[in-house]
């Protein structure tokens, strides 16, 4: 092959970024996923990311996989190999390739890309598929499988792994196995006969992924809701949250069916809008079923009135907010952490909500299940706040665990027997002095325990009152309840360096992956930092202690206004100078290099060369 490269080609084992450029709706997604999974199956950590515009068919879409044997799962930036399947975006895709990188493209239509510093791999994919398949749909579809087949000898992906993935994928449609394998071979054989292989970038089996799984955050949230005992789901479609409800339905339809009657022990209702979605979930919870809704920023705005009602009337509710780029419709298919404040204080009046911030799918599962315990224990809305990056991308994550001994915490609910023993039931009586009162489900007892739930001011017996003192007492008790909440929500994860007097770093959610890598970069450059990953709101004493113990803290977030920093300042009276805001909000997942660079520059007063 004629391709005089003027720069030494990249040589790298188990550490590179490959980016696939495709046309939306051409069936590339499953081929790309198969590629990613094959490397995962070879025991090498990967982090795949979908980069897709807000449309369904015909426009560009990308799939990027970072392969990294150290297990860094954050976005790295840069592209070492591009598989360019979309002529519309050739110029952009080719420009992105690092010096010494590689370009694989469909050479059925030859191109001159004007780059003499990269290796160009020409494979006439369309022609090969036209020659081998008669059906037009198959010809188009199998191009994708063919390039995966070609990558096998080029990168030294174990061919058997790919074959096995295909047979697994089509276990229920065995007729499709043969043509898929054929397509795989078309790509592979072409490389074996026509191109020098392997190239400088390779994969080699490792044993790094014992007890790891590959799953998306939204799938994990849906599964967590099944394990957490949710029986009611109401939702309105919105990217990137839709797959939470879909995940719930997928797992519930398999694992939540009554073995005798064959009926579903759950219901999922696609509501007419987010107002109805949250209203239905509140209605179900009021009636004693564990119910949830899933949405994204615009949905939170619509749900706000109801969230105030659930807060003030003290009705449990679990709400998933899979954040996307805002404001307004914003960047609906990009990621951000920009709903922190709108969730923390959602609704009019003095409202505050319990928030959970999972960092990856494993925590999505755990927090999703736990959110139902918290919501019922605290009788208030609990938000699981994830984002598009965690939610819609597959992550290498610890396998899910469940302790069969652990019982659901259904909170303070009085049964008929309890009511029989009581003369004085008051729905909003703070009997235990923790701000949490006892509730009853409708239909519990013929004479006792009925009450009137309302969003208007009410006394301890749920009676309407306009007495300002009583309303002040209610609002003050809710603050007490919030304090109780701070003792129940997940603790922050604190990781102190060896060096006393180091600066602190606060981060949360999907920033984790990049942060762990940034810490290593900083350490290599002799900068030590103490890390605190916030996992929930309200903040508990550990959070305040960490802040107290540091003179300078970087707060790293994926939003413009440093919303978590604002929340910390507002809730703890922390001075602005102490908390240095470090923000990234372009809609792409945050990168370690960015974090390391910014912290290094401030800490050492010089630039970081990486």
């Amino acid at each position: 092959m004629e391709n005089p490269v003027k720069v030494d080609p990249i040589n790298s084992l188990n550490d590179f970024v490959i980016k696939f450029a495709n046309v939306n709706g051409t069936g590339s997604a499953s081929a790309n996923q198969m590629f990613a999974k094959s490397i995962f199956r070879m025991g090498i950590p990967i982090s795949p990311k979908n980069i897709f515009p807000s449309n369904i068919q015909g426009l560009p879409t990308w799939f990027e996989v970072r392969v990294n044997n150290k297990g860094y799962l954050g976005s790295r930036g840069g592209v070492d190999i591009a598989v360019a399947m979309n002529p519309q975006t050739y110029s952009q895709d080719v420009k992105e390739i690092s010096e010494g990188g590689y370009l694989l493209y469909d050479s059925t239509w030859k191109r001159n890309f004007n780059r003499d510093d990269i290796t160009i791999l020409e494979i006439p994919l369309t022609q090969l598929c036209v020659d081998s398949f008669t059906n037009a749909k198959q010809r188009a579809l199998f191009k994708n499988i063919a390039y995966v087949g070609a990558l096998s000898p080029l990168l030294e992906i174990e061919y058997e792994v790919l074959e096995k993935l295909i047979s697994e994928q089509f276990v229920n449609k065995p007729a499709l196995i043969e043509p898929n394998i054929k397509a795989l071979n078309i790509g592979r054989d072409y490389v074996l006969k026509n191109l020098p292989y392997p190239i400088g970038i390779n994969v080699k089996r490792e044993d790094k992924l014992k007890d790891k799984i590959l799953v998306s955050g939204n799938d994990a949230c849906g599964l967590g809701a099944v394990y957490g005992g949710a029986t009611f789901c109401s939702w309105y479609p919105i990217t990137p949250s839709t797959s939470v409800a879909e995940g719930f339905e997928k797992y519930a339809s398999k694992y939540r069916v009554d073995s005798q009657t064959g009926k579903n022990n759950y219901i999922s209702v696609q509501a007419e809008d987010e107002l109805a979605a949250v209203g239905m979930a509140i209605g179900a919870n009021w009636n004693g079923a564990r119910g949830f809704t899933a949405t994204s920023g615009p949905g939170i705005s619509l749900m706000s009135e109801f969230l105030g009602l659930a807060y003030f009337a003290e009705v449990p509710l679990v709400l998933f907010n899979i954040q996307r780029g805002g404001p307004s419709t914003g960047m609906p298919t990009r990621t951000q952490q920009s709903d922190i404040l709108s969730c923390a204080y959602a609704s009019h009046g003095d409202t505050k909500h319990v928030l959970l911030f999972p960092e990856d799918p494993q925590e999505c599962f755990e927090f999703s299940a736990e959110a139902f315990n918290l919501a019922e224990r605290l009788q208030t809305p609990v938000f699981v706040i994830s984002d598009l990056d965690i939610g819609m991308n597959d992550w290498v994550t610890d396998k899910f665990e469940w302790d069969d001994e652990q019982k659901y915490d259904r909170g303070k609910v009085l049964k008929a027997e309890d009511l029989d023993q009581m003369d004085n039931f008051g729905r909003y009586l703070d009997v235990d002095d923790d701000g949490i009162c006892y509730r009853t489900y409708p239909g519990t007892h013929p004479e006792k325990g009925a009450f009137f739930t309302r969003g208007t001011s009410h006394d301890e017996y749920a009676r309407y009152t306009e007495n300002g003192d009583i309303n002040e007492q209610t609002l003050t008790r809710l603050v007490k309840k919030f304090r109780t909440a701070s003792e129940l929500v997940p603790d922050p994860i604190i990781n102190l360096s060896e060096k006393p007097g180091s600066s602190g770093v606060i981060f949360y959610g999907s920033t984790s992956a990049a942060m762990y890598e940034a810490k290593d970069i900083l350490n290599e450059n002799n900068i030590e930092v103490d890390l605190m990953r916030i996992r929930s709101f309200p903040f508990n004493l550990d959070v305040w202690e960490f802040i107290e113990n540091h003179d300078l803290i970087y707060v790293i977030e994926q939003n413009r206004d440093s919303q978590m920093r604002t929340l910390i300042m507002a809730e703890g009276g922390i001075s602005a100078e102490k908390l240095r805001s470090l923000v990234w909000f372009n809609g792409d997942p945050i990168q370690a290099k960015f974090i390391a660079k910014k912290i290094y520059e401030r800490e050492s007063q010089q630039a970081l060369i990486t």
């Binding site: 009611f232 009135e305 009602l309 007892h445």
Partner: protein, 350 residues
């Protein structure tokens, strides 16, 4: 403020089959204006529940926001109530209904609540056939916010200050029939004899039952130029034939002439016997009902009575094929697949 107590306080209060008196179905003291139609409706709800031997604790009273939506506090004290947010009661009802279909759901709303801010939820609850009785206490005005026009106010009906209403009304009954409501009646808060059996029928009906009840607002919409005043309704009410509610196992006592009555069997076996004023009218034919409503509207008459009933409809919980055991009673053993299954799921993801 009125302390409107419509029922007899005689010590020898009549008892129903549960040994309960009407007093046992009462609620708190009403804070609505003296003479407000909404209070009369509450009294009819009490009467209907008393006569049907309803166990009040098995009832959930739901409402939105408005004078009308306050009403659930004034009947059935032994029931749980949920006074939610403006126009959003239907979604609360939908969720609650799915969690436990064994309760009787009485939703109380106003014309502002249902025909304006909440019209979307109203329509979708109908469309989903939520099993509930949905009362619209329709006064053509926003009572609680002091007399603004509502979307059910007739075009020619001026407000208290003589201002013209510029937009035509939404007819909730015909809209509900078109959306698939399976029991649709219109009545008048002042016509207790008509309203009580209609409520009883609605309670026994399985599916979405709409009762659009003209309920005059004495404070803001009872003037001479209003078409929702007591006087106007009395003069223009065209009541369909008498409706009798016949409980399961009882004989029909009323004797109408041959062909002049029609009987509708309800889900529990009880029946509604309707006297026919128009021999061609068939309340199970939606086209027929819509035509009748349209015709009477055009004539400037307010047609009241049972307008439409579909006694074969499937309520939401049946459409969704929910288990017989209410979702809110399922225990962890039935809900949580457990660690072994999770291990399998893990395998599938590795």
């Amino acid at each position: 403020m009125s302390y409107f107590k419509p029922i007899n306080k005689h010590p020898n209060l009549e008892k129903n089959k549960l040994g309960l008196t009407r007093r046992d179905y009462e609620g708190g003291v009403s804070t609505l204006c003296a003479g407000c139609g909404h209070d009369s409706i509450s009294a009819c709800i009490i009467e209907a529940c008393f006569r049907l031997n309803i166990e009040a604790y098995k009832v959930a009273k739901l409402s939105g926001i408005g004078c009308s939506s306050k009403a659930p506090a004034y009947f059935l004290n032994a029931s749980h109530g949920f006074n939610s947010v403006h126009g959003r009661m239907p979604s609360i009802a939908t969720g609650a209904n799915c969690a436990n279909e064994d309760l009787l759901y009485l939703g109380v709303s106003g014309d502002g609540d249902s025909a304006s801010i909440g019209i979307g939820q109203f329509i979708h609850a109908i469309r989903r056939q939520v099993n509930m009785v949905y009362f619209v206490e329709n006064n053509g005005t926003y009572g609680l916010t002091k007399g603004q026009f509502s979307a059910t106010n007739d075009l020619e009906s001026k407000n208290k200050y003589g201002e013209d209403n510029l937009f035509p009304p939404i007819d909730l009954t015909s809209m509900a029939i078109q959306m698939g409501a399976s029991y649709v009646a219109r009545s008048f808060s002042g016509d207790r004899d008509q309203l009580v059996p209609l409520i009883m029928g609605a309670i026994q009906h399985k599916g979405f039952a709409l009762l659009d009840i003209i309920s005059p607002c004495v404070t803001f919409n009872n003037h001479d130029s209003s078409t929702k005043s007591y006087d106007y309704i009395r003069n223009h009410n065209e009541a369909m034939g008498k409706t009798d509610f016949v409980p399961l196992g009882e004989e029909i006592k009323t004797n109408y002439d041959e062909g002049s009555s029609v009987e509708v069997k309800l889900h529990d076996g009880s029946r509604l016997s309707l006297e026919k004023t128009d021999h061609n009218f068939d309340p199970t034919d939606a086209g027929n009902s819509l035509e009748l409503i349209r015709k009477k509207n055009k004539e400037g008459k307010i047609i009241t009575g049972l307008l439409y009933v579909d006694n074969k409809c499937k309520p939401l919980t049946e459409i969704m094929d929910l288990p017989d055991k209410p979702l809110n009673t399922l225990e962890q053993e039935e809900l949580c697949p457990g660690s072994e299954v999770l291990e399998e799921i893990n395998k599938g993801l590795s």
